[in-house]
């Protein structure tokens, strides 16, 4: 853990006037520098309220908010917000201003010089993938939803804040564009290293975007906060389990790599080898399928024992397609996808030269998942023991 959290919420709560039950109850939460922390939970759990407490769009009723160790609970809220990027689902671009003017909003308030603002606008438009010459002087109504949200992100990055708060930023965008924007945003984050708090109700988005995920229950209580892999491998209670839904184990395969598997030898023959060699190898290993490779040991096809036993004159018309090949940094989810399509029920792994390196089969995935679950459980047991 980093020495000082970028954002620290210290028992922050919000009770709206006239209500007894708090919307957010005594929430203590750390967000580390450079991470994306996703707040996810069923609607009405107070995740947006929590987000808005951080930049005091909603004033907390109790508790303290610290940014870089500085208590900002009582500072001028407008000045505070200029330090924090804020992106909302409805975007809220100013319709009467050009894209450039929109992006320049915060720099202007901070009194930047004109040339610096112009440069910043150019660079931000480029960053979010919009050609400055084409978009600078457009008005928001001339943009598609996806383009508008890119401008929304650029505007939030306007004065280069360390912290970004994003409230379902991709929620109103069609699935295909959303996927693209998510990927672009993750790529952007690799360069920018902002500290981001991201709200969504979509667990898949949370899994994809989050370095860590906080699953929130009623009154914004944290039910589990951890990396997506560990949450998927070890949901701490039924609430979390229900929320992450069915298929969570399989989603967890996204976080495991082919390289994490121990590759064992798998029988293969070169197309120059005689059939008998193949049959012998299969008999020895007690297997049905072997991999036919070329002179450079690149996988060609799956060959079945029965076909080989017939001693065909050549391998040319035999066997089944090996399908797409796996590299060591592919995810086990990808391996599973290829596996279920494969005639042999296994997916083929190649090394970085494209040479046959081994196979992934169901039992490997099974072991990998069980190991991940075991490690996650161990982690929680250790935490409990230390607590």
């Amino acid at each position: 853990m980093s020495p000082e959290p970028k954002i620290h919420l210290d028992r922050v709560g919000k009770t709206y006037p006239g209500t007894k039950i708090p919307a957010v109850e005594d929430l203590t939460l750390d967000v580390h520098e450079g991470e994306i922390l996703v707040l996810v939970g069923p609607s009405g759990c107070g995740k947006s309220t929590t987000l808005r407490l951080i930049n005091r769009m909603i004033e907390p009723s109790n508790g303290r908010i610290l940014l870089d160790g500085e208590d900002v609970t009582k500072v001028n809220p407008d000045k505070l917000r200029r330090r924090i990027g804020y992106v909302i689902q409805q975007i809220g671009l100013f319709p009467h201003q050009t894209i450039a003017q929109n992006i320049a909003t915060v720099p202007k308030m901070l009194g930047w010089e004109k040339e610096r603002i112009t440069e910043q606008v150019e660079s931000l438009l480029t960053t979010v993938g919009l050609d400055p010459d084409q978009y600078r002087d457009r008005f928001p109504k001339e943009l598609s939803g996806g383009q508008a949200q890119r401008v929304g992100v650029a505007r939030a990055l306007g004065a280069d804040p360390d912290i970004m708060l994003m409230d379902e930023p991709f929620g109103a965008i069609d699935p295909i564009t959303r996927d693209r924007l998510q990927n672009e945003f993750l790529r952007l984050q690799e360069e920018l290293h902002k500290t981001i708090v991201f709200v969504t109700h979509d667990i898949d988005e949370a899994i994809k975007m989050g370095d860590r995920i906080a699953i929130l229950g009623d009154r914004s209580t944290i039910r589990q906060i951890d990396t997506p892999e560990r949450i998927l491998a070890y949901p701490v209670d039924d609430f979390v389990d229900d929320f992450i839904g069915t298929g969570s184990t399989i989603k967890g395969l996204n976080f495991l790599k082919v390289s994490s598997l121990k590759q064992t030898d798998y029988p293969s023959i070169s197309d120059a080898d005689p059939c008998a060699t193949g049959v012998a190898k299969l008999d020895e290993a007690g297997l049905e399928w072997l991999v036919l490779v070329d002179a450079q040991r690149r996988p060609l096809r799956w060959l079945h024992r029965d076909e080989l036993a017939k001693s065909p004159a050549s391998y040319d018309d035999l066997g089944e397609d090996v399908g797409d090949l796996l590299n060591s940094d592919d995810s086990l989810f990808h391996a599973l996808e290829l596996m279920v399509q494969s005639a042999a029920g296994q997916s083929v792994v190649v090394d970085k030269h494209g040479a046959f390196a081994g196979v992934v089969e169901m039992s490997h995935l099974n072991k990998a998942i069980r190991r991940a679950q075991y490690e996650a459980r161990l982690h929680y047991e250790e935490m409990e023991a230390n607590a």
Partner: protein, 230 residues
């Protein structure tokens, strides 16, 4: 060719007669037209400032808003003659009591449109303005009012038309304006040119209203931010 029938001939003659009257009195007419315009300009200007400020302040305060709209509505229902006269004890005789009364008449349309215009600004836009650290004042001046501008302007146009017409009554409290021709004609009813004077008052008042409305329509179009044009 047969001559014009008698009634028609009389009408053409009357028209010619009126034009002669206008020509003969052009200097006075223009003078009163300018006076009229001045009264209108001051009244609309003051009404706009007061109503927009009041509207911006009242919009998000339900009680103030309801009160402001009802009170300015009540102003409109007070018979104009009475309202003009009401201010004589306070401001004496002349243009001043008239302007005060006209301002009160002009408030409602501008106030109502300011409130409606501000209502129509998307909450997401206000939220993002606030979220970027704009102060309430910056939100109002840089975002909410510019977005409400076309609607506010429509209110100003209605008020202007209203005030142009009502200014004709200023003459009754000792004020200037084209109303003096109407009053002159009415008091000299039956005497030569009495009718002509009344018509001059009416025609030039209406013409002034139309011209001002056209000018304001142009202002509205020119100053509406390009991003808001459909």
């Amino acid at each position: 060719m047969r001559g014009l029938s008698d009634p028609r001939k009389a009408r053409v003659e009357a028209l010619g007669n009126w034009f002669t009257y206008v020509q003969d009195n052009l200097e006075f007419i223009l003078e009163e037209l300018v006076n009229h315009l001045q009264i209108v300009a001051i009244s609309v200007g003051v009404a706009t400032v007061v109503a927009v400020l009041l509207g911006a302040w009242a919009q998000s305060r339900p009680i103030v808003r309801a009160l402001a709209l009802s009170i300015t509505g009540i102003f409109l229902t007070i018979p104009s003659l009475a309202l003009f006269a009401l201010f004589i004890p306070l401001f004496g005789i002349g243009n001043r009591p008239a302007i005060v009364a006209l301002v009160l008449y002009g408030l409602l349309p501008i106030l109502r449109n300011t409130v409606t215009g501000l209502d129509s600004v998307s909450p997401a836009v206000v939220e993002s303005a606030r979220g970027m650290g704009m102060s309430p004042r910056q939100q109002l001046l840089k975002v909410r009012l510019p977005l409400a501008f076309p609607v506010v302007m429509a209110g100003i146009r209605v008020s202007t038309l209203l005030i142009v017409g009502l200014t004709a009554i200023a003459v009754l409290v000792g004020g200037d304006g084209l109303g003096s021709f109407i009053q002159d004609g009415l008091t000299r009813n039956g005497f030569p040119n009495a009718g002509n004077a009344v018509v001059v008052g009416v025609v030039f008042t209406v013409a002034l209203g139309l011209v001002l409305d056209a000018v304001l329509a142009t202002v509205q179009r020119v100053f509406t931010p390009r991003g808001l044009l459909v």
